[in-house]
């Protein structure tokens, strides 16, 4: 019996029991759809983060206290080793450009303007932030070096914060209260966009000197350093680190580059996607067991048919192929339905929810191959049992 004939016979058998075939393959449908959605979300997240990190400028170096932890993108020992604002001068000397270094201290506070009150991220920044992070000012201007040194209570709002506190109005020149202290708004940053539904535009920038006083801190969280060119990044990051190490031999610092962050993000997302996909894949396994089970029932129900086919000249191999093709057809059809559901589900999630999702071209291909392979794996046992039936016994069955 040729492959095409086996395919036709299997199709007839499955059509004869439409509802059961559909229910049997449901596990495969769900499993395939779930894996595709998870992989798509993982890929979407990676693409979004990569584009955002790249958007910062590929020649950005982040200098943080402590050992940069490649496992969870944070630095530990920050409490032990600290960076001071003055350390920025050391770093600026290394780069040779005092405007290429910006300090940062991040906290949060209750912010009020008129009747509107909200808890907002407060960034202690200095005058170099727009240049180093490539964040243009949309209205007004960013605070100056003099503002920072004089500890002037001026604030620059993110675009979203501006919209929240001064809907439809120009916030420049207006007053806001940050943690009980009054600030004058001098500028609004251009919109930056969202990452996982978290806006980078929902923050208030104040001079870092003011922020230190406001939050009672001496240190800064980090310095961002802009390298003159991407090619100089690795060398520059080593030099930055060495200067700090020479200054504070007992403490640990890290100079983290874009590439490292991207690599770490990639690793984390890859691992996360793999774990979630594996969990979703369990449904495939369960679905496969279901297929195996129903095929065994089918072999039992069709014992006489098998006996008859053997009496009419079907070899063991013919019967085995017939049932194997049937199982593979069952799971492949489930795979195709699952791919359709998974792809459309991914597109819906991408379009309708804050989660990014991007269907990788290979995921439907792999999904189809896997679903067919599940059919082979879980179909072989019932098919062998069918093939080995003794025609004499099989014909007697009722």
């Amino acid at each position: 019996m040729k492959g095409l004939e086996a395919f036709r016979v299997a199709l007839d058998a499955l059509r004869g029991n439409r509802l059961r075939s559909l229910l049997t393959t449901l596990g495969i449908v769900i499993g395939i759809a779930a894996v595709i959605v998870v992989v798509s979300i993982g890929a979407g997240a990676r693409q979004q983060i990569e584009s955002q990190v790249e958007g910062l400028g590929s020649n950005l170096i982040l200098v943080v206290p402590g050992q940069f932890d490649t496992q969870n993108l944070s630095s530990n020992a920050a409490a032990v080793s600290t960076l001071q604002r003055d350390d920025g001068d050391l770093l600026a000397d290394v780069v040779g450009d005092p405007d290429a270094v910006t300090a940062r201290l991040t906290s949060g506070a209750q912010v009020r303007a008129g009747a509107v009150e909200q808890f907002v991220t407060v960034q202690g920044s200095d005058q170099n932030l727009p240049e180093v992070f490539t964040r243009p000012v949309a209205e007004g201007q960013f605070f100056t070096g003099t503002d920072v040194e004089a500890r002037r209570r001026v604030a620059v709002l993110g675009s979203r914060t501006a919209e929240t506190f001064f809907p439809g109005a120009d916030p420049v020149g207006r007053q806001i209260t940050v943690a009980g202290t009054r600030f004058q708004v001098v500028g609004v940053l251009a919109e930056q966009g969202e990452s996982f539904g978290v806006s980078q535009d929902n923050e208030v920038h104040v001079p870092i000197t003011v922020a230190q006083r406001l939050f009672g801190l001496q240190r800064v969280d980090a310095f961002a350093v802009k390298s003159p060119s991407a090619a100089q990044v690795p060398e520059l990051s080593r030099r930055l680190w060495r200067v700090l190490k020479a200054e504070y031999p007992d403490q640990t610092f890290s100079a983290v580059t874009q590439t490292q962050i991207l690599g770490v993000i990639g690793d984390i997302l890859g691992l996360l996607t793999a774990v979630l996909a594996a969990i979703a894949g369990i449904s495939l396994l369960v679905g496969g067991v279901g297929v195996s089970n129903i095929m065994l029932v089918s072999v039992r129900e069709r014992t006489r048919e098998i006996g008859l086919r053997k009496a009419l000249g079907a070899r063991q191999r013919d019967v085995l192929v017939q049932f194997l093709v049937e199982a593979v057809l069952l799971t492949s059809v489930g795979g195709v339905i699952g791919i359709a559901l998974g792809v459309s589900g991914s597109l819906l999630i991408d379009g309708l929810s804050p989660l990014p999702a991007s269907v990788e071209w290979w995921s439907p291909v792999v999904a189809f191959v896997v679903s067919a392979a599940v059919g082979v794996f879980f179909g072989v046992f019932p098919a062998r049992r069918a093939g080995r039936l003794d025609p004499v016994v099989a014909l007697r069955a009722d």
Binding site: M1, D12, G313, V392
Partner: protein
């Protein structure tokens, strides 16, 4: 089973001079035994059966249930192999064949007609009849064409696309005969073919079998417990307790002797 039982039939080959030279043995059984083991006990269903069925012969194998008749039918149908002795079907010794070769032998030499018709309920008459050709590797269009011819030969040219559930028992059995015939086998093995039919349909089925035997020269082996059905065959082989009790061919001295009934 060392002891040779009292055998009314002469050794194979002895009746040969009485036959036309053109005749060949479709089935040749020499001292065939078949025993089944169930744990410690062994049941001997056939205890040494010898007989020959020539090409184009019409033979009834008769016997009560438990006589070994069914076992014999399975052996003649190449669905099983003898425990000892030699069984040649179409000149091939069953004991020398692999399972796959046995399947091929069934496909080429044997046409089965079962008591319960054994049709695939969801397939059309044509698809049912074409089944043996499927396993012979015949292409789809030719398969359907030959199946249709075969159905016309049993008077079912108007039922080609009907399914078994849409047909009467008599029609279903005629579909089964068409299926047995489609591969142009040497032997048509009918196991109680009228057992599930009323007398009118049963008579019709018997008439078709006789006609096929006469017109196409296919050897018909009819396995039955019904003496009336068996009586219509030219030759009766009576089986009892795993042995051939009586073989009319031996009594008449010629297998081809007509009008034995």
């Amino acid at each position: 089973m060392d002891e040779q039982p009292v055998d009314e039939q002469p050794a194979p080959g002895v009746p040969a001079p009485a036959r036309p030279a053109s005749r060949r043995a479709a089935i040749e059984a020499v001292d065939v035994t078949r025993s089944y083991s169930f744990g410690d006990t062994t049941v001997q269903a056939l205890r040494g059966v010898s007989f020959t069925v020539d090409d184009g012969e019409y033979t009834a194998i008769v016997g009560p249930s438990g006589s070994g008749k069914s076992t014999l039918m399975h052996l003649l149908g190449c669905l099983d192999r003898p425990t000892s002795g030699t069984l040649r079907v179409g000149g091939r010794d069953l004991r020398e064949l692999s399972d796959a070769e046995l399947a091929e032998l069934r496909n080429r030499e044997i046409g089965f007609v079962f008591q319960a018709f054994q049709l695939l309920p969801r397939s059309t008459a044509v698809d049912n009849v074409a089944l043996p050709l499927l396993y012979r590797g015949v292409k789809g269009a030719e398969r359907r064409e030959r199946a249709a011819q075969s159905l016309r030969a049993v008077g079912l040219g108007h039922r080609l696309t009907h399914r078994p559930t849409q047909m009467s028992g008599g029609e279903q059995q005629r579909v089964a005969i068409a299926r047995a015939l489609v591969g142009e086998p040497r032997i048509l093995l009918a196991d109680e073919p009228t057992g599930n039919l009323d007398s009118r349909n049963g008579a019709e089925v018997m008439r078709i079998l006789e006609q096929l035997n006469a017109e196409r020269g296919v050897a018909v082996v009819l396995v039955t417990h019904d003496d009336e059905v068996a009586g219509r065959a030219r030759r009766q082989v009576r089986v009892r307790d795993g042995l051939v009790e009586r073989d009319t061919a031996a009594e008449h001295g010629t297998a081809a002797g007509g009008g034995a009934a």
